[in-house]
C-alpha cells in the first residue's frame, strides 16, 4: 500500500501533464479567403458567416468567373475552388469540415450594379438563423445589390428567443405593401445591466456589422461604407420619432465604478440621429468604422442632422441635409468611376447609442431615403 501515493501521482501526471492531442480533426467549415482577379474588384470582398459579397467593375463578364478559396484547415468545398461558374446569379458553395461532421453553405454574389441612391425599405428578409430582419436593396432586375447592416446580430446574443419584431432594428407598416425601417432603443436584459451595457439603440447603416468583434470592440465592429460613383449633395428622407420614457445612461461614480442611471418623466432628452459619410476608400482597401467615421483624413464630405431638427413627430416629416465638403478635398472623376469612394448612411434611434445611452423605447421610423447627387 506504500505505492498508493505513487500510483496516484502517476495518474495525476498522466491526466494533467502535456497530453497534447494535435490529431483532433478540425470541426470548422469556414471560407477564410476568396481570391478573384484584382483588376475586376471595386472593393475588397466581404466574407460573412454564410455569404460572400464581391463588388466588381461594371464591365466585368460575370458569366465566367473562377473564384478560389482558402478554407478552415482540412475542410473541403463543393464546387471545387477555381471552378468556373456563371455568376450572373449568386452561386451556392458547400464547405464540409475536416471531421466531416458539419457543413455550411455560402452564397457567393458578384455584384456589378452600383448601389441605388433611393431607398424605400420595402425589401427585408429574416437572417439565416431566422431571428431578425435584414433590409436589402434590389436593382431593376430584382437582384439583391446591397444588404443594410445593423447591430441586430449582437442583440441576438442577448435576446434569447425574442421575436424578430422585438429587435432594435425591424420594419413598420406604412400602408399596404409599403414599409419603413423601424429603429427602437431596447433594454438588453439583466445580463446587459450586469455588464453596464443596459440598452441597445436601433440602428441601420450601409456597410457590415462584424458580430465577431462586437463584444471586444463595439465601435470597430461597425464597418461603414459601400462604393458610390457619384458626388453626393444632399441626404433626404422622411421620419417619425417618439422618445422613450425612461432615459438610461452609464456614468462613472466617484469611486471610478460604472453605474447605471435611469431618469424618468423627461428629465433627460433623447434624440435620433442620421448622418452620411463620403470618403476615399484607398482603392477598396479602407473601411471607416465607429472610431474614425468623423475624423479620418480620407473623409471628403459629411452630412449630419442638426440635433435641433431631431424633433419628435407622429406624422411623417421631411429632412434634407447638405453634404459639407472637407476643406481642401476634391473628388477625382476617374477614381470615382472605378469605385474609389465609399458612402455610408447611418441612422439610430438614440444619438448616444454607441455609448449605451438613450431612452428605452425611443422609436424612429425612416422611409423614402434618398441621396441627391451631381454628376
Amino acid at each position: 500500500m506504500k505505492s498508493t501515493p505513487l500510483i496516484f501521482f502517476l495518474i495525476v501526471s498522466l491526466l494533467i501533464s502535456s497530453c497534447t492531442k494535435d490529431d483532433v480533426l478540425n470541426a470548422e467549415a469556414d471560407i477564410i479567403t476568396i481570391v478573384v482577379p484584382s483588376e475586376i474588384l471595386k472593393a475588397e470582398p466581404v466574407i460573412e458567416n454564410n455569404r460572400i459579397t464581391v463588388r466588381v467593375k461594371s464591365d466585368t463578364d460575370l458569366s465566367q468567373q473562377s473564384p478560389e478559396f482558402t478554407l478552415s484547415e482540412g475542410a473541403t468545398i463543393s464546387p471545387k475552388s477555381g471552378t468556373t461558374l456563371n455568376f450572373t446569379q449568386p452561386q451556392l458553395y458547400k464547405v464540409t469540415s475536416q471531421d466531416e461532421k458539419v457543413s455550411k453553405e455560402y452564397t457567393v454574389s458578384y455584384i456589378k450594379s452600383e448601389i441605388t441612391s433611393r431607398y424605400d425599405f420595402n425589401h427585408f428578409r429574416l437572417d439565416e438563423t431566422g431571428k431578425y430582419h435584414i433590409f436589402f436593396e434590389q436593382n431593376e432586375r430584382g437582384d439583391n445589390i446591397m444588404d443594410w447592416a445593423s447591430g441586430n446580430g449582437a442583440f441576438a446574443l442577448t435576446a434569447n428567443d425574442a421575436p424578430a419584431d422585438k429587435y432594435p432594428t425591424t420594419y413598420a407598416d406604412v400602408s399596404e405593401n409599403n414599409f419603413a425601417a423601424k429603429l427602437i432603443t431596447r433594454r438588453t436584459g439583466s445580463l446587459g445591466v450586469m455588464f453596464k451595457k443596459p440598452i441597445a439603440a436601433g440602428n441601420i447603416f450601409m456597410g457590415t456589422f462584424d458580430v465577431g468583434a462586437a463584444l471586444s470592440n463595439p465601435l470597430a465592429a461597425v464597418k461603414m461604407g459601400v462604393p458610390f460613383e457619384h458626388v453626393p449633395e444632399f441626404l433626404k428622407g422622411t421620419f417619425k420619432y417618439s422618445q422613450g420614457d425612461v432615459f438610461v445612461q452609464v456614468v462613472e461614480n466617484a469611486q471610478g465604478e460604472l453605474v447605471i442611471e435611469e431618469f424618468e418623466n423627461g428629465e433627460m432628452t433623447d434624440y435620433w440621429d442620421i448622418y452620411a459619410i463620403f470618403y476615399d476608400n484607398n482603392g477598396g482597401k479602407l473601411m471607416l468604422d465607429g472610431t474614425n467615421r468623423f475624423t479620418h483624413e480620407n473623409l471628403v464630405a459629411v452630412a449630419h442632422l442638426d440635433q435641433q431638427d431631431a424633433i419628435e413627430t407622429d406624422s411623417w416629416a421631411e429632412f434634407k441635409i447638405p453634404f459639407v465638403p472637407k476643406a481642401g478635398k476634391t473628388v477625382d472623376p476617374q477614381k470615382l468611376a472605378n469605385g474609389g469612394y465609399n458612402i455610408s448612411v447611418v441612422m439610430t434611434s438614440s444619438v448616444g447609442g454607441d455609448f449605451f445611452k438613450g431612452a428605452v423605447n425611443s422609436t424612429l421610423l425612416i422611409d423614402n431615403l434618398e441621396i441627391l447627387y451631381t454628376d
Binding site: M1, C19, K101, L157
Partner: protein, 257 residues
C-alpha cells in the same frame, strides 16, 4: 445504477452507526476495542474528465490550491489483536484546483462582455477554478499490517456545503450555437466568464483507499486516494459534454487517543 449503489452503501454506513448508537447503552462492550482519532490534512488533485476528452488539447497550467480537511473518526476492531476493523467518522474537506487549458471545439456557455449569454464551441484557452467544500462520511475496512502500518479502503459519501466551479474563456473564439455558427472573438482584455457552481451535484460518492503509519505513540502520518464515482455535475447539466470526477490525494497527520 450508481445512485442505487451509493444509497446501499449509505444505508450500510448508517446501520453501522445505528448499531454503535444502540450499543452505547452497553458502554463497555461498545468502546471496548474501539480507537479514536482526529486528523488534519490537505488534499491535492483535481476534477478530471475521464476519459480525457479530445477537446482539451493541452493543460497549460495546474495549481492544486491549498485545500484543508479535518476529520474525527472511530475504529471498531473485530478482534482483540486489532488485525481487522471498521472505521467511520465525519470529515470536513476542501477540494479545489485551478487550471488553464487549451481547448479546441469545446462546448461551453459564457457570458459576453455585453451581457450576452452565448453557448457554442470554443477554441482557445479556458481557465477553471474549483473550490468546493464537503461534509464527508467514509466507511472503511481497516487492516493492520504491522505495528507501524494500517491500510484501509471503502466508500465515502459527501455532501456539498460550499461550491464554486467557475472561470473564463480567453484568447480564442466561440462559434455561436455550434461549429458553423457566427464567430465571436474573445481577444486581449475581452474574456467570457462562466459559472457552473449552481449545476454541481450536491451528493458525491466514491472510493477511498490509503494507509497510515505510526510515527510516535499517538501520532499517525496518513496518505490516501479518493476517487469520485458519480459525475461532479447534476444529471440535467449538459453544457459540459463529458463527466468530471473528483480525484484527490489527501495527506496529513492524525492523533490517535
Amino acid at each position: 445504477m450508481h445512485f442505487r449503489q451509493a444509497a446501499l452503501g449509505f444505508l450500510i454506513s448508517l446501520s453501522i452507526l445505528g448499531v454503535k448508537a444502540q450499543a452505547s447503552e452497553e458502554k463497555i462492550s461498545l468502546f471496548s476495542n474501539t480507537t479514536f482519532q482526529i486528523r488534519a490534512g490537505f488534499s491535492i488533485g483535481g476534477s478530471a474528465p475521464i476519459p480525457f476528452p479530445e477537446e482539451i488539447t493541452h493543460i497549460e497550467h495546474y495549481d492544486p490550491t491549498l485545500s484543508l480537511g479535518l476529520e474525527a473518526n472511530l475504529t471498531k476492531w473485530f478482534d482483540a489483536r486489532k488485525k481487522w476493523g471498521i472505521r467511520t467518522g465525519l470529515r470536513v474537506e476542501g477540494k479545489g484546483m485551478k487550471t488553464d487549458a487549451s481547448v479546441k471545439n469545446y462546448y461551453t456557455e459564457v457570458i459576453g462582455d455585453g451581457g450576452e449569454k452565448v453557448s457554442g464551441n470554443f477554441t482557445g484557452k479556458v481557465q477553471t477554478t474549483v473550490k468546493n467544500s464537503y461534509f464527508t462520511i467514509p466507511v472503511l475496512l481497516i487492516h493492520s499490517l504491522s505495528d507501524k502500518w494500517n491500510i484501509y479502503a471503502g466508500p465515502y459519501f459527501s455532501s456539498l456545503v460550499e461550491k464554486n466551479f467557475s472561470g473564463y474563456v480567453y484568447d480564442g473564439y466561440l462559434r455561436d450555437g455550434g461549429p458553423t455558427g457566427q464567430k465571436i472573438l474573445f481577444e486581449g482584455e475581452n474574456k467570457g466568464p462562466y459559472d457552473f457552481s449552481q449545476d454541481l451535484n450536491v451528493f458525491q460518492w466514491g472510493m477511498l483507499a490509503g494507509g497510515e503509519w505510526r510515527l510516535r505513540k499517538h501520532l499517525r502520518l496518513f496518505g490516501e486516494l479518493s476517487w469520485g464515482f458519480n459525475n461532479l455535475f447534476k444529471k440535467d447539466f449538459k453544457t459540459i459534454s463529458f463527466d468530471m470526477h473528483p480525484i484527490y490525494l489527501n495527506i496529513g497527520f492524525g492523533y490517535a487517543f
